[in-house]
């Protein structure tokens, strides 16, 4: 009997009535939701990936690997594109995001919160509208290229550095090339890189860096040996938060790329939503998921520490 019972106005206490069931009662609704609408769908998708049939006749589980064979034989290029463009965007967000996060964490001063607010501001606009904005910006007659084209006479110019990537029908373009697609992916996922990097860098005690410099490390060495290792959990989280959605994205490819730059997400949505090809669509999704899980495991091993994820 606790003191609470003596003063409780209404019969037995909460704990006495529900006892040890309390945590389970609190967990039940959320857990059931996740089991019914995350775990079971994943199982269902696997079932369909080894089934034959159609939406009209229904599907029968035949344990055939045909869908996987089709997926890998036909769509190797799109898988490769996902890896290539998703990977390029991840590296670019890291290269852009690290200096930005570093500046906010160590030099932000009283502007820290304002800059962070600006970093997340793109989230207040729809992902789709932001990508459409890039389409406006990068178009042949858009605000960026029209002046170059008409003002400086850069029509038909082939910019050597960018090679063939930016040339469509003999003219220099950005929209509908891999450049636009990677720029869009980089843009859309940059805040996902900056925020975890900032969180990791912000935790670093500046005295550790001062100590390294007191011990005759130059600034480069102090950065490499102290700041960078301590920022690794942020790099890990940031690259995953960027790479995973970038791999599965199909909006940037559809709005900013061309038919040759389609990624695996485009194929999945085409198979499932337009062709009702559930076995192949499911197999493609499963390969994507499995590939990402393997990549994450390898990456975690490469970065070397299990405590990174904890």
């Amino acid at each position: 009997m606790t003191a609470a019972t003596a003063h409780a106005p209404t019969g037995p206490t909460f704990r006495a009535r529900f006892g040890r069931a309390v945590p389970y009662l609190l967990l039940a609704p959320g857990l059931l939701w996740l089991v019914f609408f995350y775990v079971i769908p994943a199982i269902q998708m696997f079932t369909y990936s080894v089934s034959t049939g159609s939406l009209e006749r229904g599907f029968e589980m035949t344990f055939t690997a045909d869908a996987y064979a089709t997926a890998l034989d036909t769509f190797g290029k799109q898988f490769l594109n996902s890896l290539l463009y998703g990977g390029a965007a991840t590296i670019l967000t890291l290269l852009i995001g690290f200096p930005v996060a570093y500046t906010i964490a160590f030099r932000g001063g009283r502007y820290k919160n304002l800059i962070l607010f600006l970093v997340i501001a793109p989230f207040f606009t729809s992902f789709l509208i932001r990508t459409i904005s890039w389409k406006i910006l990068l178009g042949d007659e858009g605000p960026l290229l029209a002046p170059l084209r008409h003002g400086f006479g850069l029509i038909d110019a082939n910019i050597p550095l960018l090679g063939h990537a930016g040339v469509i029908d003999g003219r220099f373009s950005i929209l509908n090339t891999p450049i636009a697609q990677v720029a869009g992916l980089t843009y859309n996922f940059l805040p996902f890189m900056i925020l975890p990097l900032y969180v990791a860098l912000e935790k670093i005690d500046p005295r550790l860096i001062e100590a390294a410099e007191d011990l005759y490390a130059n600034r480069g060495a102090a950065f490499r040996r102290v700041t960078l290792p301590l920022a690794l959990p942020g790099v890990f989280a940031g690259t995953l938060l960027t790479f995973i959605p970038a791999m599965g994205d199909y909006i940037n490819a559809e709005l900013l790329g061309n038919t040759q730059t389609r990624m695996i997400g485009n194929v999945i949505q085409n198979r499932l939503l337009l062709q009702n090809d559930y076995p192949v669509g499911s197999a493609l999704s499963f390969i994507l998921m499995a590939g990402i899980l393997v990549a994450v495991a390898v990456y975690a091993r490469l970065l070397g520490t299990e405590q990174l994820t904890g």
């Binding site: 995350y38 500046t103 607010f117 970093v119 459409i132 406006i136 007659e141 940059l190």
Partner: protein
């Protein structure tokens, strides 16, 4: 060793540069990072600026891609496209409902996970983490396979039918992906919670229910609000998962996606700008209020 070789390489370049340009390098060096950051912020802001500027365009033709002339037409008639108004209403309804449901059950989970020890906690944390680590497209695809399966043998007739997909399936999906974010946010808030405050309340005669509503809840309320705001913004912006489970029902992003191949009305920019300005004001006001509260304390 690497450090020793790196030093003589960098030092001469710096000195020659400063000799040549009269200390330009010295002037530039501390400014590189702030300038780079400013450029990155510009990169992040440019599409938003484009969205707002082009909401005042009067496009020549059906596509609002090229600047033509200034006009307030879009702002005067923000819903002047068939289906647009309904899509915005659906988006708001889904966002509000999924936020309320996910915040309640996610907060309950967060409480259970931080305050009780029970078997299977590790596995449970895994199940909560997985939806955040899964590509949206895989979640959308797998939900669609489940919804389709409820209408086909062998499941058909034995479970509620969720196909053809529509409002209900969108809501189910949004609650699903929101739960994890709510749990993580609420857990972060509960991590720094001083349990002695509850013990004090109980010592003063409050029972557990009263203690929860009078002490615990008000203290974790900012965390719950943050979780709800996050859930709302994730829901109202979601395209990828919604596209798989929406059927013929349109949310605002789905409406934009389906129309953009045939037309790009200026109203898209207007609604986008309204949502952006609304969100900025909301977050700004919350920040100012919490800042004031912090100063008073």
């Amino acid at each position: 060793m690497a450090d020793a070789t790196a030093l003589p390489q960098t030092a001469p370049t710096a000195t020659t540069a400063s000799k040549r340009s009269g200390g330009f390098w010295h002037w530039l060096q501390p400014r590189i990072l702030p300038m780079f950051t400013a450029l990155a912020i510009v990169y992040l802001m440019v599409p938003i600026a484009v969205m707002i500027v082009f909401s005042f365009n009067k496009p020549d033709g059906k596509f609002n891609y090229i600047w033509n002339e200034f006009s307030l037409d879009g702002w005067a008639h923000p819903f002047a496209w068939p289906g647009l108004g309904n899509a915005v209403i659906t988006s708001l309804a889904v966002a509000v409902l999924s936020t309320v449901i996910a915040t309640i059950i996610g907060t309950m989970m967060g409480l259970a996970l931080t305050r009780y020890s029970f078997r299977g906690r590790g596995a449970l944390n895994g199940i909560i983490f997985l939806p955040m680590a899964t590509p949206e497209i895989v979640m959308g695809a797998s939900l669609l396979t489940l919804f389709v399966a409820t209408a086909l043998p062998p499941l058909a007739g034995t479970v509620p039918t969720l196909y053809p997909t529509g409002f209900l399936t969108i809501l189910i999906a949004h609650v699903m992906f929101n739960i994890s974010y709510v749990v993580v946010t609420v857990k972060a808030r509960l991590a720094g919670f001083d349990r002695r405050l509850e013990e004090a309340a109980m010592d003063l005669g409050a029972n557990e229910v009263t203690t929860f509503w009078k002490v615990t809840f008000p203290l974790i309320f900012p965390g719950i609000m943050a979780a709800a705001l996050l859930a709302f913004s994730l829901s109202i912006d979601d395209f990828v998962i919604t596209n798989f489970v929406s059927g013929t029902t349109n949310t605002f992003p789905i409406w934009v996606y389906s129309i953009q191949r045939n037309a790009l009305p200026v109203q898209i920019n207007v609604i986008g700008s309204i949502i952006f300005i609304g969100a900025v004001l909301l977050v700004g006001l919350t920040t100012i209020r919490s800042g004031r509260a912090a100063r008073i304390r």
